[in-house]
């Protein structure tokens, strides 16, 4: 691409809090934004390492989140222990197919897509790939946008477990998978925040900025 210069290549640094562009030497002492006082960094410090750590932790927690029990439902006649996937299947079978689709997207599709997308982005940045930076940036923005919707199941479990406490008549209990799943959501959100999309564009400049 012609006529494109990144701020960092010119020794300019955009404040991560107020976005003011100011000059910063690449090897100097920590500099502060003249407008808001935040510490200036050319790129988020330790972005790749932190993002990898959080993504790997999320992959590990994703296993108990899907194998353990998410919700226990008991009444006079029936007793069910549902994982996330069996909960969706049960909703589908009992005819609430719209709700089944919403819960499937929020609790199964979004967390998986988020983890795969972040892994793809991390690999491509580490290999200093220069292909399709625009599409990869768009992928990152999508991950940032949809990540929060995974919290849906946590809210549903909370509301049901709090409301349906009628002793022997009907009881709903949150299972251990809720804790694992909640952690996956929080960790992947932190991973998304730690990832610096500007790293996608740096290979185009043929220079490295790590601070």
């Amino acid at each position: 691409m012609k006529g494109t210069t990144s701020a960092a290549a010119r020794g300019l640094c955009s404040c991560h809090v107020c976005r003011l562009v100011s000059r910063k030497s690449r090897f100097s002492e920590p500099a502060h934004c003249p407008r808001c006082g935040a510490t200036l960094h050319f790129r988020k410090p330790g972005s790749l390492q932190r993002c990898w750590a959080l993504v790997i932790a999320s992959y590990i927690l994703y296993i108990p989140a899907n194998t353990l029990v998410m919700m226990e439902t008991g009444s006079l006649l029936t007793y069910r222990r549902d994982t996330i996937v069996s909960g969706v299947a049960h909703l589908w079978k009992t005819g609430s197919w719209l709700i089944a689709v919403i819960v499937f997207i929020a609790s199964v599709a979004i967390p998986l897509l988020k983890l795969f997308s972040l892994t793809l982005l991390l690999f491509s940045v580490q290999r200093r790939s220069a292909s399709r930076p625009r599409q990869r940036t768009r992928l990152y923005r999508m991950v940032e946008l949809v990540g929060r919707w995974s919290m849906l199941d946590i809210y549903v479990v909370t509301l049901l477990a709090a409301l349906v406490q009628l002793g022997s008549m009907a009881t709903v209990k949150a299972g251990p998978a809720a804790v694992a799943f909640g952690s996956v959501v929080v960790l992947t959100m932190f991973a998304t925040m730690e990832f610096d999309p500007r790293l996608i564009w740096d290979p185009l400049q043929k220079e490295e900025f790590h601070d």
Partner: protein
């Protein structure tokens, strides 16, 4: 409409229209065009004045750089104050109640958080409390603290800390997700129980809309520029 930015590095003197406190449009001469680095791809660009309602997006990656949000402070403040009142309603009244053979059970959102805490799911209870109650409340309070003095022509003390907090907590306020969660729970409950929707359900519905409107009209860039001690002719210690 999207105005594309021209690349360039030299500071150009531009004629720029700004709105005075009385609402009249004053031409501000000698304001140098500022440099902007795209937050998604770090491309260096120069800002240009935008027509009201226009958005400037990055020439290279398409990220939204800034908007000319019309009456940003007034509108955001109005939405925030309205949202604050609904937030109280949403937390004081029950979300919904169920009835089984004369047995009636109702919960407020905070009641649900407490109940989960007592059931031993402390981490989940805390997560729900932070994302559904604490962060939205802090967001509304910070916005009011920042925008009310600005509206009155004052500088809120410690504003940069509040702006920073606001930026940090923004992804963690999940009222719209909670709203969908309430609807899903409602449908799940109607399979087995007689469900009575409560006041809070409606309050949360409207609150979701108001928070979205406040987020759409708020412009952090405007606040930073208005409160910048250097442009106000003061020097920072």
């Amino acid at each position: 409409m999207i105005c594309l930015l021209l690349p360039g590095l030299h500071h150009l003197r531009r004629l720029r229209a700004v709105r005075s406190a009385e609402g009249a449009i004053l031409p501000m001469v000698d304001r140098p065009a500022q440099l902007i680095a795209c937050h998604d791809c770090d491309l260096l660009q120069r800002d240009i004045p935008l027509n009201p309602g226009c958005t400037a997006s990055c020439r290279r990656c398409g990220a939204v750089l800034y908007r000319n949000a019309t009456d940003s402070v007034d509108r955001t403040l109005a939405y925030t104050l309205a949202a604050g009142m609904l937030f109280l309603g949403a937390n004081l009244f029950p979300v919904f109640s169920i009835q089984v053979q004369g047995d009636r059970s109702a919960i407020t959102l905070f009641g649900a958080v407490l109940s989960l805490w007592e059931q031993g799911m402390k981490s989940i209870s805390l997560l729900v409390f932070i994302t559904a109650i604490f962060v939205p409340a802090l967001e509304l309070l910070s916005l009011t603290y920042l925008l009310l003095p600005i509206r009155l022509g004052l500088v809120p003390p410690g504003y940069s800390r509040f702006m920073r907090t606001l930026q940090f907590i923004e992804p963690w306020g999940m009222v719209e997700v909670l709203m969908l969660g309430m609807l899903v729970s409602l449908v799940k409950l109607t399979n087995n129980f007689k469900v009575i929707p409560g006041m809070a359900l409606w309050s949360f519905g409207v609150l979701t809309l108001l928070l979205a409107a406040a987020a759409a009209s708020f412009s952090a860039r405007d606040v930073w520029e208005r409160l910048d001690p250097r442009s106000r002719g003061e020097t920072k210690p």
